[in-house]
């Protein structure tokens, strides 16, 4: 059992969720409420990582973040090491790759609030921030929770993009999914089996907790 890999995966998923939570709220809310030209294009772009093969997506990120790219160059200047094949690089890739999982459910959540309820909040004297806190977030919460659960579970299991952008550096970029693959390559079926079972357990627990929370919210709104 590769505990380092498991810890790394959990750390990666945690960071991804932490970064995507505010992004999903802001972007989901924006896409839910606004009508503008080119909205369909933006929604399609957000969904793109969902349909692209992870290797293709990973390849483009590798090119975009590489030492010779502007982004990779600036990173190297600032932090003295490469963005690719580092934990930070994995986090950035993971955030981008999880955009559809984070934004779409949040957008649906905010859409469910309803225009008239938002207008009522404004007519009750609530500033946009007060309205977000007191009315919109409590109502959009199931969608945001779903978004974060999907992001977390999906990051734990992501393989192709991690391999492309991060490689398999123990303690730095070797996540549990990569580690399972390595074990299989080394004919260690037992090790791979245990880790796979652990991953299934964690994923199931995550989903179960989300369902329980959603049901509680559902009863509250009953």
């Amino acid at each position: 059992m590769d505990w380092t890999a498991l810890a790394l995966s959990l750390r990666l998923a945690g960071w991804t969720v932490a970064i995507l939570l505010p992004i999903s709220i802001l972007a989901g809310r924006f896409l839910a409420y606004r009508r503008f030209a080119g909205k369909g294009l933006i929604e399609a772009l957000v969904m793109l990582p969902l349909i692209l093969p992870p290797t293709v997506f990973g390849f483009y990120l590798l090119v975009a973040f590489g030492r010779n790219s502007p982004i990779g160059g600036i990173w190297q200047e600032m932090f003295g090491h490469q963005l690719v094949f580092s934990f930070e690089g994995l986090v950035v890739a993971s955030v981008i790759f999880n955009l559809p999982f984070a934004i779409q459910p949040a957008q649906r959540g905010f859409e469910a609030v309803g225009e008239q309820v938002r207008e009522a909040a404004a007519c009750c004297g609530m500033s946009p921030l007060a309205s977000l806190r007191q009315v919109e977030l409590p109502l959009a919460w199931p969608g945001i929770l779903t978004a974060m659960t999907l992001t977390f579970a999906h990051t734990l299991g992501e393989f192709g993009i991690v391999l492309m952008v991060g490689g398999s550096i123990p303690g730095e970029t070797r996540t549990i999914a990569i580690s399972i693959y390595d074990r299989v390559q080394a004919f260690d079926d037992q090790g791979a089996g245990i880790m796979s079972a652990v991953l299934v357990g964690i994923s199931l627990a995550t989903i179960a907790v989300t369902y329980a929370l959603s049901a509680r919210i559902g009863r509250r709104l009953g």
Partner: protein, 369 residues
């Protein structure tokens, strides 16, 4: 404290209106869907901005497109009741009401919410969520929430359209009773002329974004042009009355300036003032007090004026005390009776011709409620 509104807009919602509502006055904006009445209400609340417009309350400017002033809704002190109520589903009734209160400590807010719940006859239901309340109860919470803001203007957008007829009648009576507590300008948007007649002091008829007629409720309801703009054939007058007693046969005896009349049972205490809507085509005229007639209600009045209508009919306006009712009869009948202004006549109406929702509690009942 008067509310003054001017709004002009080209497309997609054509609008060109100007009106004023005094404190404590209830103005009904009546019109078909698409006439721009709801947009007008939204412009007052700040939810929609017309091309050109000016909205002031008590000298405070909420919107002035010339001066580039456009306060967002949360900075306008407006109370709004939405068509579908738009209650916050995750909050209890009391929390919904408290959500509209600014400042004040939690203790005061709770007390104030309790007071408002009492006011809209929802005592004891403050802990329920909107989903656990009936349509009529939700409507009352929405009204209490709008009042909780201590609004400088109260806006009601078709507030009774989503409840059944019986509930609507009860809510109408409650609104009339509540008027004593409403000292701000009130604007009611409705497509129901009957509702406007029962609730409003003044009516403005909106058609294709323009106010085609505006005036006091009695004036408007006997104005064929305004009624035609509403697509109504029925001219009607409101007659003030006072409940005199309940008869054993299920009728209610009312006192009016023109004598006693009997109507199908009205659930009200003796002495309660009400308003009865009398349709012009249900009123028969006679020169002398008729006898041996099945119709029970005979009111003595005097002809004020006779207005020829389109086709074979005429409108005869009668003074009953210091009020007015209207009778629509044929030109031939008017000529054979040789009616002229100043003549004394008797108006006859069938008890059963006054439908239940044509009876409302009178605004003059304020002090007694």
């Amino acid at each position: 404290m008067a509310l003054e509104v001017m709004a002009r807009n080209a497309a997609p919602i054509p609008l060109d209106v100007r009106f004023r509502v005094e404190p404590g006055e209830l103005l009904a904006l009546v019109g078909h869907s698409g006439s721009g009445k709801t947009s007008l209400l939204r412009a007052i609340a700040g939810l929609w901005r017309p091309d050109t417009g000016r909205v002031t309350v008590d000298g405070q400017v909420w919107l002035d497109t010339d001066a580039r002033v456009n306060l967002p809704p949360h900075r306008r002190h407006v109370g709004m009741v939405f068509q579908s109520y738009a209650l916050f589903p995750h909050m209890s009734a009391a929390q919904n009401i408290q959500a509209a209160m600014a400042g004040a400590c939690a203790e005061e807010r709770r007390a104030e919410a309790g007071r408002l719940l009492d006011l809209v006859n929802l005592s004891g239901l403050g802990g329920r969520r909107p989903a656990q309340l009936s349509g009529g109860q939700q409507q009352r919470v929405a009204l209490a929430r709008a009042l909780a803001r201590r609004p400088r203007a109260l806006l009601l957008d078709e507030p009774f359209s989503a409840v059944d007829r019986a509930t609507r009648e009860r809510l109408h009576a409650e609104i009339v009773a509540l008027r004593a507590h409403l000292n701000m300008p009130v604007v009611l948007v409705t497509h129901d002329m009957n509702e406007a007649q029962i609730l409003a002091d003044r009516i403005a008829v909106l058609s294709k974004g323009v106010i085609v007629r505006e005036g006091s409720t009695p004036e408007l309801m006997s104005d064929p042009v305004a009624l035609r703009a509403m697509g109504l054939r029925e001219v009607a007058a409101m007659l003030s009355a006072r409940v005199a007693g309940q008869e054993a046969d299920g009728l209610t005896r009312l006192d009016t300036a023109g004598g006693a009349i009997l109507l199908p049972r009205i659930e009200a205490e003796r002495g309660v003032p009400i308003r009865v809507r009398i349709l012009a085509h249900e009123v028969i005229l006679a020169r002398a007090r008729p006898e041996g007639l099945s119709a029970q209600n005979i009111l003595a009045g005097r002809v004020r004026r006779i207005v020829p209508g389109e086709g074979p009919g005429v409108m005869v306006y009668l003074a009953i005390g210091d009020e007015e009712i209207v009778s629509r009869i044929t030109r031939r009948a008017a000529e054979s009776l040789a009616l002229a202004p100043g003549d004394e006549v008797f108006a006859i109406l069938k008890s059963m011709s006054v439908a239940r929702d044509h009876v409302g509690r009178a605004p003059s009942a304020r002090s007694e409620m």
